[in-house]
Structures are given as structure tokens and as C-alpha cells.
Amino acid sequence: MSLLEVRGLKTYFYTRQGIVKVLDGLDFRLEPAQILGLVGETGSGKSVTGFSILRLVPRPGRIVGGEVVFEGGDLLRLPEPQMAALRGRDIAMIFQNPRTALNPLIPVGRFLEHVLRFRAGLPRNQTRDEAVRLLSAVHIPDPERRLASYPHQLSGGMAQRVMIAAAIAARPKLLIADEPTTGLDVTVQAQIMRLLRELRDKIGTAQILITHDLGLASEVCDVIAVMYAGDIVEFAPTRTLFATPQHPYTQGLLASRPKLAEIGEIPAIFGSAPDLVNPTRGCRFHPRCSYAFDRCRMERPKPVNVSPDHYATCFLLTEGKHA
């Protein structure tokens, strides 16, 4: 059984300008100890997906439909107290800008001990040692001394590691990481990515990595779901995605990374981000797609399997016009 199965998830934002249908029927699946990458640009709905799973969608957003089945139970039907008990315990989340996510008045050690006591249910006399153990598990040097540090005394990379330590304190089955390394230095980014891989290998934590960086996702993720305007346009194991991308958007993203040997123009995707208040009829990507034909303008494409574990949402696959 899959660890997490999202079916027909609909999350709408009720704004002044109208109803923004950020997610309008999202489907995907995550297996235990698997790292899934949700890759998309601004407005693709990737962060909202993460929040929807934990039912933390900020106002004016609301989950209006679908199912989020975690270990067999639909999270959306759960009464709030039970959902609250789940957060931080079975499913944990870490965010961008770790320093702002930590309470500046609480030293790191006390924060971790709180988490251990109230989320992991550890008795008070054991929390300190476990906190030290957690800090060394995330490779923070000199963990004993670090317990007394305040968040502003930590560098970005270290703060993020503290967040990860807190997130795994209760041994969650699923960790959602929302742009955890955006804004951090590249060398630190590499370290954090390595840590996430370790979590999967050593503790078996399944993860959803939300990022706009396809390259980053390729470093860590087992499977990648490429999102555009609230839909998953392509879903495949990482290697397959890079080797044989099927959706024009995926192809565009891959091609638009500058490469060393290239001289001349980088093939760029023309146009700009979609308007989610008045979405275009038909495929949401067609205004920017160089392969668009009539059907694309009329209907919304459905996922088509290229192979058992690889699908893309594009009419090119069914019309057989694809190279």
C-alpha cells in the first residue's frame, strides 16, 4: 500500500479578484521511504500542495475537495484534534528561511526538548541526551554547546539542520520539505541534500521535496512530479525524466538550463506564468507550447502512461505526433 495517495485534490483561494483554483484535481502517490520531488515555478501550486496535505492552507485558501489518504486513512475527513496530533509526529514539514521559522527567543536546545517531550512523548530526563543525539545526527558540530545557541547565532545552513532535527525527532513517516535550501549557499545546499538522502537511507523517511530547481530535485529525488498551473504535467523516476522527458514543459525546463558547450541562444520557454483566476480553456500550458494544436485549446488533457511508472499529461502522446 502506498504511504500517501492524493486523489482529486482541489484547493481554491477566494480572493478579491475571484476564485483562484490553485489545485483543481491533483493526483499522485508516494511510496514508503521514497523521495518525491514536486517541481514547479511560482504559481504552479507546489507549496499549496504541501500545505494541503497537512491541512495548513492559509486563508483565503480552502481545501474544497478530493482525498489525501495517508496510511489508509483520509486526512481530509479527520477531525482537527486528530489532525493536530498527526502534525509533527507522523508527518513533519520544514520550510524555506529556517531562521525565521525558529522562535528567536528560545534556545535551540530547549526547542528540541519541547518537541521531544510533546511530539515524541519522551520523558523529561531523556530529552537532553536525545536532543544532543539529534543534533549530531544532522551533522551539527559540537552539539553539546549548540544546545544553548539562539537562532540568530546560527548560520542559515545550521538553522535548517536544526529544523530538520526537530522534524525528525518523532520519527515521522513523511517529511515535507518546502524549498528548504533556497537562499542558502550552494555548498551548504549540497550538504543538506546529502542529509536528506541519509534520512531516507538510514531511517526510511519518505519525503516530498518542493522546489523550483529541477537540477536540485535530480540530486535527491527518486521520482519527480513536474507541476504547471496546478496540474502534474509529468511524473517519472528521475533518471527517466531526464533521459526521455515527454511533456513539452519538462523539455523546455531541461533545455533552458545553460550548458557549458553551448554557444548561441538558450532555448527559452516564451510567454509568462498562467493566470489562475481565468484559466485558459483546454490545456493550461498551450499558450506557451510550441507544439500546441487545436485539441489542446479545447480540452484538458488527461494523464497518459508512457510506461508503468512514467506518465505525462499531454495530447501529443495520444495523437502520436510525438517524435
Binding site: 537540477g215 533552458s256 538550463r257 541562444e265 506564468a273
Partner: protein, 337 residues
């Protein structure tokens, strides 16, 4: 070989930071950087936080004055000039900033923003300035309807195009691009990089391109300077740096480039630890605290950029002594075995 457009000589920038009642500490933002940029060339300044690249970028235009050292534009020492004279040079020296939204005055329309440099430098006034500004907007890929808009009504990519139009209004000779695409989405990034490349050729610009992203750098740069904690650790042509990086830091930087990693010839190197604070840089070679090849001498000996091949400079005596990074790597592997 034509004369260089810009010559940077031993530029140093230390910021005093109050530490305690009357004492001061110094942030060693930039510590002795020298290089030259030739006409039509783009030099990339690559580094992470604390490398000093942004501070250096501002000093190239004298938006900040160096603590010591000189910046020569076409032979003229900019650091000696009074502010009022410097302003005249701003016609030829321009900058495109990192955060496109923050770089635009929220209460000025796009048109006003692009017109301002024309008017300031007496290039055009009134109607003429307006027409020129509209032309510029078209050149950077915006439409007439954008001219009357305010920054918050534009997307990030469009805002940055305005920033570029503003920088090019006075037809400058040298432009500093400070991480122009870092704050933008990947698909927009490609569009903007194509645009800047095209414009650089059209305007015959020399430029300094600051970035932390090596893949972007690989596309735009003619030459690359890798910076760490305020100093240049490696300097070479694009080919040299990407096909045979010599400094361990450069190698680790390339190893950390996720995905689309250029073909790196050596084994990937992932560093431990964090970047030390520029308040208290390590002694000797500043990189020694994280360098897997560090030895006792690295702690005491100051590093200088030395040529390992014509035009390819490296600041690491270990690499120099062995004649190349590959030799250093091989020796380490041998010693382990």
C-alpha cells in the same frame, strides 16, 4: 592587445563594526583583489555569501569607495574623483541589480524610471526623452502599454527588463550585472540571459557578471574569477575554469552544482563546515579550514594568485608546487591507499 576598459588594483574594503563600547571590529569584505577587463569582454565574479562579490561589484562603479586600492576606468582613477565629477562618469558605468522589485522606485512609472537617466545626463528632454525611453522599452522586450505601469503591476521578469532598460539608457560602456536572474524563475531566467547576451553584443558592452550559479556563469562569461572570503582564488578563461578547475574551492563549487552540472574532470568534492565569518578570516590561506588538502603550511602562508598556465591563475601553493589539481588529487588518493 587593446587597452583594458577597467583595471582593478589591490582593492580592499573593510567595514568597521562596533564591538563593545568604543572598540571596533572589521568585516573583511574584500581583501586585495586585482584584475582587468578588456573591451567587449565579460568577467564573471563567482562566489557564495561572504565572498565579497557584491561589495566588489559596487566598488567597480564607486558606489562604495574602497578602503584602499584603485579602480581605473580607461586609465582614470575613479577612487580619486569627487562625487560631482564621478556622477558624470555614471553615464558610462551602469549597473543592473539583483532584486528587480526592490531596485525600482515604487512610486515612479516604468517610463519615468527609464527616462530619468536621459534627463539627468542631459542626453534628451521632454518629448525626445520620452520617445527614446519607449524605444528602449521595446528593445528589452516590453510593450508600450507597460510604460505607464508601476513596478508592482509587473512580473519579476518584466521588472528586471525595466532595470536593464534603465541601465542601458545612457549607452554605457561598462555594466555590472549583480545576480540579475537569481530572484527569477528558471524559464524567465533563460529569456533574460538571452536578452542580456544580445544586448551586450548590440551595445558593445564590457561587463562584470556577478553570480553564485556556475551554470549561468558558464553561459555568459568570457573569463571567470572565483572568489572566497574577499579574495580571488582562481582566475581564468571560461574554458580553463570549466574544463580544468585548479583550486579546491572551485572544484567543490562545481561539485555542488546540482543537476545540469558541466562536465567536471575531477572527482566531486563536497566540503564540510560552513563559510567562516569575514569578521575573523582564517590565517594564511583563508580556505584552509575546509580544504581537504590542507597542510600545516596552509595555515601560515598567505596565498597569491600565480599563473599555472598562461592566463590561468590560482591561489594555492599546493597546486602550484605539484603543477596542477589533478596531481594534488592523485597524490592524496595515493596517500590514502
Amino acid at each position: 592587445m587593446p587597452e583594458p576598459v577597467l583595471v582593478v588594483e589591490n582593492v580592499v574594503k573593510h567595514y568597521p563594526v562596533p564591538a563593545g563600547w568604543l572598540r571596533h571590529q572589521y568585516v573583511h569584505a574584500v581583501d586585495g583583489v586585482s584584475f582587468e577587463i578588456y573591451p567587449g569582454q565579460t568577467l564573471a565574479l563567482v562566489g557564495e555569501s561572504g565572498s565579497g562579490k557584491s561589495t566588489l561589484g559596487r566598488m567597480l562603479l564607486m558606489l562604495e569607495r574602497p578602503t584602499s586600492g584603485r579602480v581605473l576606468y580607461k586609465g582614470q582613477d575613479l577612487s580619486r574623483l569627487r562625487d560631482s565629477v564621478l556622477r558624470i562618469y555614471r553615464k558610462s558605468l551602469q549597473m543592473v541589480f539583483q532584486d528587480p522589485m526592490d531596485a525600482l522606485n515604487p512610486r515612479m512609472t516604468v517610463l519615468e524610471t527609464v527616462m530619468e537617466p536621459l534627463v539627468l545626463h542631459g542626453i534628451a528632454k521632454g518629448r525626445v526623452a520620452r520617445d527614446r525611453a519607449l524605444e528602449l522599452l521595446e528593445r528589452v522586450g516590453l510593450k508600450r502599454e507597460h510604460a505607464a505601469r508601476y513596478p508592482h503591476q509587473l512580473s519579476g521578469g518584466q521588472q528586471q527588463r525595466v532595470g536593464i532598460a534603465r541601465a542601458l539608457a545612457t549607452e554605457p560602456e561598462f555594466v555590472v550585472f549583480d545576480e540579475p536572474t537569481s530572484a527569477l524563475d528558471v524559464s524567465v531566467q533563460a529569456q533574460l540571459l538571452n536578452l542580456t547576451s544580445r544586448l551586450r553584443v548590440e551595445y558593445g558592452l564590457s561587463s562584470a557578471f556577478i553570480s553564485h550559479d556556475l551554470t549561468v556563469v558558464s553561459y555568459v562569461a568570457d573569463r571567470v574569477a572565483v572568489m572566497y572570503l574577499g579574495q580571488i582564488v582562481e582566475l581564468g578563461t571560461r574554458r580553463q575554469i570549466f574544463e580544468s578547475p585548479q583550486h579546491p574551492y572551485t572544484v567543490s563549487l562545481m561539485s555542488s552544482m546540482p543537476g545540469g552540472r558541466p562536465l567536471m574532470p575531477w572527482k566531486p568534492l563536497v566540503l564540510e563546515g560552513e563559510i567562516p565569518s569575514p569578521l575573523n578570516p582564517p590565517s594564511g590561506c583563508r580556505f584552509h579550514t575546509r580544504c581537504p588538502f590542507a597542510e600545516a603550511s596552509c595555515r601560515t602562508k598567505m596565498q597569491r594568485l600565480e599563473p599555472i598556465k598562461p592566463g590561468h591563475l590560482v591561489a594555492c601553493h599546493q597546486v602550484m608546487e605539484r603543477g596542477g589539481y589533478d596531481a594534488l588529487e592523485a597524490e592524496k588518493a595515493r596517500r590514502k591507499a
